[in-house]
């Protein structure tokens, strides 16, 4: 599977910091539409930072490099504009929004994608919402609950995937969507993600567990360390990491390894 750069989410030599603390140090990654890539890496490697920078979180400063969505730089754009261009981030820690129901929240997100003056059709909306909820085994009465408020960890993650299913992004970054899920929920969520796979979407799956990649089989696996991708391979790389940990890969490919020069 290959795609040209105008049909990919492309991160080019990205450097970024929070305050004066550099976190991303020259990260390059290309996720063509139609492919699923996985990122693994130790705690603190900068995986969530990468995800939030792509989504446009205001706390981080990009010092150099670029992020291109279908060939166009998105770094100067507000987070909501990026989202409307087709970028989706499933958060590692989804926010609770008191008093705003799931139904109204997703409706507002869809409404934001319509031209000025056009109203979302309510019956179609609910039909689609319920269908997606059923597929993800999210109880229908969740529509009237406040976004993520009082949700269990697993329910929050399922709700992120529900939003993704409703918004149909062209690129999705899933930050540890598997953590906090029990075995059954993992299967349900993976099936939900797989159902969205196809030639019109590129996905970046951030995870600590190889197990997820048994269900969502990636086209490529990348290892991230200290703000860079230090090694890439196919799905078997995840198995090797699971068995042997990160030390060997950091020794061989990290700062002190062969690529350090």
């Amino acid at each position: 599977m290959s795609a040209n750069s105008s049909s990919s989410l492309s991160i080019r030599d990205l450097h970024a910091s929070i305050g004066d603390k550099p976190i991303l140090k020259g990260l390059t990654l290309d996720i063509p539409k139609g492919e699923v890539h996985a990122i693994m890496g130790k705690n603190g490697a900068g995986k969530s930072t990468l995800a939030k920078i792509m989504a446009g979180h205001p706390d981080y400063t990009v010092t150099s490099g670029d992020v291109l969505l279908d060939g166009e730089s998105i770094l100067g754009l507000e987070p909501d504009v990026r989202a409307r261009l087709g970028l989706f981030l499933a958060f590692q820690y989804p926010m609770e929004i008191p008093g705003v129901t799931i139904a109204n929240f997703i409706r507002a997100a869809l409404q934001a994608r319509l031209p000025e003056g056009e109203e979302l059709e309510a019956t179609d909306y609910y039909a689609k919402l319920y269908a997606k909820m059923d597929a993800l085994s999210v109880p229908r009465n969740f529509t009237s609950r406040s976004v993520n408020e009082g949700f269990s960890g697993g329910e929050k993650k399922r709700c992120e995937i529900l939003q993704m299913a409703m918004l149909e992004p062209s690129y999705a970054v899933l930050d540890e969507t598997d953590s906090g899920l029990d075995i059954d929920a993992l299967k349900i969520v993976s099936a939900g993600v797989n159902a969205l796979r196809g030639p019109n979407i590129g996905m970046l799956v951030i995870t600590h567990y190889q197990r997820l990649l048994d269900y969502i089989v990636p086209d490529k696996v990348h290892v991230m360390s200290e703000g860079r991708i230090i090694h890439s391979g196919d799905k078997d790389l995840a198995l090797k990491l699971e068995a042997q940990g990160y030390d060997w890969v950091e020794k061989e490919f990290g700062e002190s390894g062969t690529r350090a020069a």
Partner: protein, 429 residues
């Protein structure tokens, strides 16, 4: 010819012809009381932080009857499935529809209730001492009152559908004295929605009073939807008395007004009684919302639960002063008081003064006021879904008020009031 409300006695206004003689006497006494009471001063505790310029009422006059009542009747549309609807325009009853009202329920203009149900009227009409600051203005209300709504639900009667009451205000510098009196007999239940509305964008005055009496085991939902014009000065003086095991759930939504003074005094009279006091206050531009509350526990094992949410934009200002008092013998009281201020502008100002006085044992009381700005992470989360910052902020504010609506524990009201709120929030800038 305009008739000043502060220098004209009730006997001079010609209002007395509406009322039985004994009430006209009452009005004259109230007028004397109004004149004898001093204008509030900054040093008066109930007027701390208050804008005293706003309560100079000297250039307001008595409202004259509205000409175009038909258009006001058309504009008085909210819920469709009602037990009854009364519409007042400048205190004149212009519409009275009682199709869905169960037998035995009395829904009358106040002056008629005073004539034909004197005992009931006397027992519940402005019987308690106005003690949160506006005694003088309550006396003025009583002196000039021309009409109002009288709702009596006898023992055991359940009014399933809501009763809607509209109070229209019209006229530059005009004054009205809206009044709603509700008595729920033992085990009765009802939902009453008061709408306070200006017909035009005018500077005028409303001094509103309501008396809510909830007897043993009765259950009341009361909502005041205040949508005065942005130039109106308004007083809303509420007294609630709840009997044994009775439940009163009352919400004040202040969506309009330039200066709004709210006083809510809840008396937990019976064992196991419950009073839920809610308020939703979107304040913007130069609006001032000044609210004083009292949760007074006289009986054991009663609960009072106050939740006020203020969202302050532009140069708006809010004041909250609330007292919880647990009288002797009111053991095992549960009393809660929470005020949250969502600050949307650096120029806005929120003052909160919670208070507590406990004279009984084994009570559980919490009170607190918090102020915060829009949560950046919540905003980012919403923007990451494609929602523009303005809409995201609006949704957060709507959610902030939605958590108060949830406390009504009444899905129909929650949805209905949510729609009113949505309309208000989407039309304000």
């Amino acid at each position: 010819m305009s008739i000043s409300i502060t220098t004209t006695s009730p006997s001079e206004t010609g209002n007395s012809t509406n009322w039985p003689e004994w009430f006209s006497k009452d009005q004259n006494e109230a007028w004397e009381l109004f004149q004898s009471l001093p204008q509030p001063k900054r040093t008066d505790e109930p007027w701390r932080f208050a804008n005293l310029k706003a309560i100079d009422l000297s250039d307001f006059h008595v409202a004259v009857p509205v000409q175009d009542v038909a258009s006001l009747i058309t504009r008085s549309s909210a819920l469709t499935n009602l037990a009854a609807k009364l519409i007042f325009a400048n205190e004149v009853l212009i519409h009275n529809d009682q199709v869905g009202l169960p037998a035995g329920v009395l829904l009358l203009p106040l002056e008629e209730a005073a004539k034909n149900h004197e005992e009931l009227f006397r027992k519940s009409f402005m019987t308690s001492n106005v003690r949160l600051g506006s005694k003088k203005f309550a006396a003025l209300h009583r002196a000039h009152l021309r009409s109002g709504a009288f709702v009596y639900v006898p023992k055991g009667v359940v009014v399933e559908r809501p009763i809607e009451i509209w109070h229209w205000l019209e006229g530059e510098n005009a004054t009205i004295f809206p009044h709603t009196l509700i008595v729920l007999g033992e085990g009765a239940s009802a939902t009453v929605i008061d709408h306070f509305v200006s017909s035009r964008d005018e500077r005028s005055l409303a001094i509103a009073v309501n008396d809510l009496t909830v007897e043993t085991n009765a259950k009341l939902h009361y909502v005041a939807v205040q949508e005065w014009s942005d130039k109106v000065t308004a007083f809303h003086i509420n007294t609630t008395e709840v009997g044994k095991e009775g439940v009163s759930t009352a919400l004040q939504m202040n969506l309009g007004g330039a200066y709004v003074r709210g006083e809510s005094d809840s008396h937990l009279m019976g064992e196991g009684s419950r009073s839920v006091m809610l308020s939703i206050n979107p304040a913007s531009e130069n609006r001032e919302i000044d609210q004083r509350t009292f949760q007074d526990h006289f009986a054991p094992r009663a609960t009072s639960d106050l939740l006020y949410h203020n969202a302050l934009a532009d140069s708006s200002r809010t004041i909250f002063a609330g007292l919880i008092k647990v009288e002797e013998h009111a053991h095992e009281t549960d009393a809660y008081q929470k005020v949250r201020n969502l600050m949307l502008s650096d120029e806005a100002e929120a003052n909160s003064m919670p208070g507590l006085e406990i004279l009984a044992d084994n009570v559980r009381c919490t009170h607190g006021a918090t102020s915060g700005e829009l949560n950046e992470d919540e905003l980012f989360y919403m923007m990451a879904r494609g929602i523009a910052p303005k809409q995201a902020a609006q949704l957060i504010v709507r959610g902030f008020f939605g958590t108060v609506l949830e406390r009504l524990e009444n899905p129909m009201l929650q949805e209905h009031l949510g729609e009113i709120l949505d309309k208000k929030l989407s039309t304000s800038k």
